[in-house]
Chain length 172, copies 2
DNA sequence: GTCTATATAATGATAGAC
DNA sequence: GTCTATCATTATATAGAC
């Protein structure tokens, strides 16, 4: 999926990589959508573990940004988002996880920011949305060789997050 | 492409919609990639006209944001970006236009911001990159029914742009 | 459970008539 | 230029042997 896109992930090819016949996959996952949903559930379960670990880290803001800028994970996330955009059957699954992930991030950011005089300039859910936007676009564009503005955007986000972290540490 | 994704755009289906045989398309565009590149060039040419119009508007900042949040155009742009990510043959074409679009935006933003005491908090190319990121993620997520944080992010960006516009108008 | 064989449909691309 | 007919490949999915 990472190398050739979601459309290249077919029952036959997954079966071949797994070393089984395609009919066996159909036995466990009747349709191709069922297989893709199973793959997504497996991935998102792993992602959730890593996200929670980041949010529980001593420096959650920095850890969250590191989580979001992991290129393999984010590229896969974008791929599934594109898939969900055109496959109604798995849309709900992707939307549900994305909303849950955002709510987890929002909860932690709220705890960090609301408890003191720290202000991020925007609400916690807004901050989560903005960080996701920038990391996704960095990964999408990098994939095709677009680079202008990337260093600047990365530096801007990181300095804003550092400022946020400092004021949070000063306040507690 | 908008409704079913780039993978659903085949030579045969384009021919059917156009009311010609698929071999005629192969006559003009030998390979499927050639056809997709031609489609992209047609689209990006139109986009460029509209982008330039926005940058020449009385209020370029507001017009640029309107251009970027046009959902049909941005959704198509994301689709081509995903396509380019997995089709080496058309990658260069997409990257070239994206870089050019960003440079045009950067030039206009520089003119607005550098000429006076106005500071956006980040460099012009950074601002262009951030706006693109947010608008793309708004459109991608909306497509699958994700909405949390959208209202907040939109309001945040728009108030930041309004602040920028006011200080720019005050300075000139 | 796991396989081979197969039905059906769609793909990119080409040959060759006109 | 534009078409019909076709090749080779791949896709999802099912039937049925073991």
């Amino acid at each position: 999926m990472l190398e050739e896109g979601y459309a290249a992930v077919t029952v036959r090819r997954v079966a071949k990589v797994a070393g089984v016949s395609s009919t066996l996959l159909h036995y466990y996952y009747p349709t191709a959508d069922d297989l893709l949903i199973a793959i997504y559930r497996h991935r998102s379960g792993q992602d959730l573990v890593q996200l929670q670990r980041a949010l529980d880290a001593p420096d959650p803001i920095c850890a969250l940004w590191a989580y979001q800028t992991d290129s393999a994970r984010t590229a896969l996330g974008v791929e599934f988002l594109a898939l969900a955009n055109h496959r109604k059957a798995i849309r709900g699954e992707i939307a549900r996880f994305a909303e849950y992930s955002r709510s987890l991030q929002t909860k932690t950011l709220s705890r960090l920011l609301d408890g003191s005089g720290v202000t991020a300039g925007c609400s916690p859910v807004c901050l989560s949305m903005l960080l996701t936007s920038v990391s996704r676009n960095l990964i999408m564009e990098s994939g095709v060789g677009i680079a202008s503005g990337h260093g600047e955007a990365r530096a801007y986000v990181e300095s804003a997050l550092a400022r946020l972290r400092r004021s949070w540490e000063r306040d507690r």
